[in-house]
């Protein structure tokens, strides 16, 4: 079967580890921006962490504020240039740990901006430490015996955090197989359309594998999402206005 050619926006090989979910998501976003023909109308806001590698392989204007500050930066982006899409590819640490305040502030104001949050349950770039999304029981570099509620508190589930807010879109998806990739692509497009239609804040969380820090072979990491992570963090659209 001939391989599908990557869209032109993906201008070089990505720099992610083998089996990393970020690369798959970036390709999906690249395809959506291309198909919607909005590359010149898009200004990305990067987080810092593995996610920010997209800027080295995607030909789209990008600004990079400090780690986690996308909620603030996107707010300013959209107000200074309301004719441009303001999107971010964020990490779960950036969006929900160091940047939770800015993410929530943008959401509570219902800013017309869009978050794509890559949830791999760890701080990946720094070696797989505890993230807010680390599941109870999950071992990480900084929870060697596994996360416990006593020592580390509960995990963050963005559905529980944001479901009462007056925002445009809140959903969770994954990219573990072609069917899920196709579903994710539709959700990415829908999230961007919410912004196009001026409906307000959108957040799509994507469960992505981190074989390197999960100490798993890539196929096993995909299976782990399907069997474990997506049970802990249910998939679906819970706000769709």
């Amino acid at each position: 079967m001939p391989a599908r050619k990557a869209p032109e926006i993906m201008y070089c090989e990505n720099r992610f580890c083998a089996g990393c979910g970020h690369a798959i998501f970036n390709r999906i976003l690249g395809e959506v921006l291309t198909e919607m023909d909005i590359i010149p109308d898009t200004i990305m806001c990067s987080d810092i962490g593995c996610n920010h590698q997209f800027q080295f392989c995607m030909n789209v204007d990008t600004i990079v504020p400090p780690h986690g500050k996308m909620g603030a930066a996107l707010t300013a982006q959209k107000r200074v240039r309301p004719d441009k899409y303001a999107l971010t590819i964020a990490g779960d640490g950036g969006a929900y740990a160091i940047g939770l305040g800015e993410t929530m502030a943008a959401a509570t104001r219902n800013e017309n901006v869009t978050f794509f949050v890559m949830n791999n349950t760890v701080f990946a770039m720094t070696g797989g430490q505890l993230a807010p999304t680390t599941m109870v029981g999950q071992k990480t570099a900084s929870t060697p015996l596994g996360r416990t509620e006593e020592a580390n508190g509960r995990s963050i589930d963005v559905f529980k955090v944001m479901q009462g807010l007056d925002i445009a879109y809140l959903a969770r998806t994954t990219i573990t197989n072609p069917a899920n990739i196709a579903k994710t692509k539709k959700m990415v497009k829908k999230a961007i359309e919410k912004q196009r239609d001026g409906k307000g804040f959108g957040l799509l969380e994507v469960l992505v594998p981190c074989p390197t820090n999960w100490n798993m072979a890539p196929p096993d990491a995909m299976k782990y999402i399907d069997e474990v992570v997506s049970k802990y963090y249910p998939l679906g659209e819970i706000i769709d206005k």
Binding site: I39, P40, D41, T42, I43, C45, S46, Q55, M58, N59, V60, D61, T62, I63, V64, P65, P66, K69, G71, A72, A73, L74, T75, A76, Q77, R79, V80, R81, K84, G101, E102, A105
Partner: protein, 358 residues
């Protein structure tokens, strides 16, 4: 020219607006809030964007984003807010973003107090965030200078593609004086090529981040050093008053310079030859101003509203031991004219011991 009675903070905000400012983000903190309030009222009327951020951290990064997308972006704060700005400002520097920040200094450590101080000097001129850098730092000592410095700040920042800091203080910010308003400058957010405005087909994208991610780090370091040396050589500004025959030279900026100037005038009437060097740029420090000090001068005294005489460090670096140096650091109170003269006389008479630096 239009003249108005204004507070320093208002004059600063209006100066920025007339200098082409079309974005402001900030968070309320005394004694700078008039800047935020002026912008809230005026920016939308003039086609700009005002955002009250949810924190100083949000505000400094909103300023970054707005500037990256082309707006002439200002933010202002004070005291602990300025501490929260440091990470964001370091990012401005690493990305070469010509943003402008104003810090209306208040006194104290941590939360501190809401009244005026000059104890942000070290933080303002010695970097403040991580990494090697200085901010181009302008220090107004009048309402007019608040206006004028804000007015020119964007062009100065854009000339060097480097952030500019306006270091005011609670007294200068809150005092009311007549101010001549400058004519409106036109500014278009699409004026510069370097801004992010969307990647056109066939073009390479722009990424506004630490410049060295896309350039050779060693070359960038050499280039940054060269730029800083050029700024240091060409942007020093100062005002010297009666320095060339002075027996004692005062060095003061901002509100302290107003008192020091009064002290020079009164001392001269009494036959005591005081002089004043008023740094207008705090970085680059106006070292050239000190060349005018006569060899017969018996001492150089900084006058500062802080505990440790922070600016004396720069005086020591500048005079290299040629003159003894002292700080009349009057803690939280602005010095009085007679207090300055009395201290200067004691120095003249050899009654004050030169202290070690802190």
């Amino acid at each position: 020219m239009e003249k108005k009675l204004m507070k320093g903070n208002e004059a600063l905000a209006e100066g920025a607006l007339r200098g082409g400012c079309n974005f402001f983000a900030g968070y309320p903190i005394t004694p700078q809030s008039e800047i935020l309030e002026w912008m809230a009222a005026e920016l939308p009327k003039r086609g700009g964007t005002f955002i009250q951020g949810e924190s100083e951290i949000a505000s400094v990064n909103m300023t970054f984003a707005a500037r990256a997308l082309g707006a002439r972006a200002l933010t202002s704060t004070s005291g602990p807010g300025f501490s929260l700005y440091q990470e964001g400002i370091a990012y401005w520097v690493s990305a070469g973003m010509p943003c402008v920040a104003a810090c209306v200094q208040r006194f104290g450590i941590g939360d501190g107090f809401i009244f005026a101080g000059q104890d942000n000097y070290w933080q303002a001129v010695k970097g403040g965030g991580n990494g090697d850098y200085h901010l181009i730092t302008l220090a107004p000592n009048s309402v007019q200078e608040c206006h004028d410095m804000a007015y020119e700040s964007f062009e100065l920042a854009e000339k060097w593609m480097h952030p500019v800091l306006l270091l005011s203080d609670g007294t200068i910010g809150q005092m009311t004086e007549p101010c001549e308003l400058r004519p409106q400058k036109e500014y278009d957010i699409d004026q510069y090529e370097w801004t992010c405005s969307g990647t056109k087909p066939g073009n390479d994208h722009k990424v506004i981040t630490d410049i060295t991610y896309f350039e050779d780090l060693d070359e960038w370091n050499e280039g940054y050093l060269k730029k800083m040396r050029e700024i240091s050589e060409t942007e020093q500004r100062w005002e010297n008053i009666c320095v060339d025959d002075a027996d004692i030279v005062l060095v003061a900026y901002g509100i302290s310079a107003r008192v020091a100037e009064g002290a020079v005038n009164k001392a001269r009437e009494q036959g005591f030859k005081l002089g004043l060097i008023r740094p207008i740029t705090l970085w680059p420090y106006p070292r050239k101003a000190f060349e005018e000090i006569p060899d017969t001068c018996r001492g150089v005294i900084t006058v500062e509203v802080n505990m440790m005489g922070q600016m004396r460090d720069d005086v020591i670096i500048t005079v290299k031991g040629k003159y003894p140096t002292f700080a009349l650091a009057t803690r939280r109170k602005v010095a009085k004219v007679d207090e300055v003269i009395a201290f200067a006389k004691d120095v003249y008479d050899g009654k004050v011991k030169e202290e070690e630096v802190y």
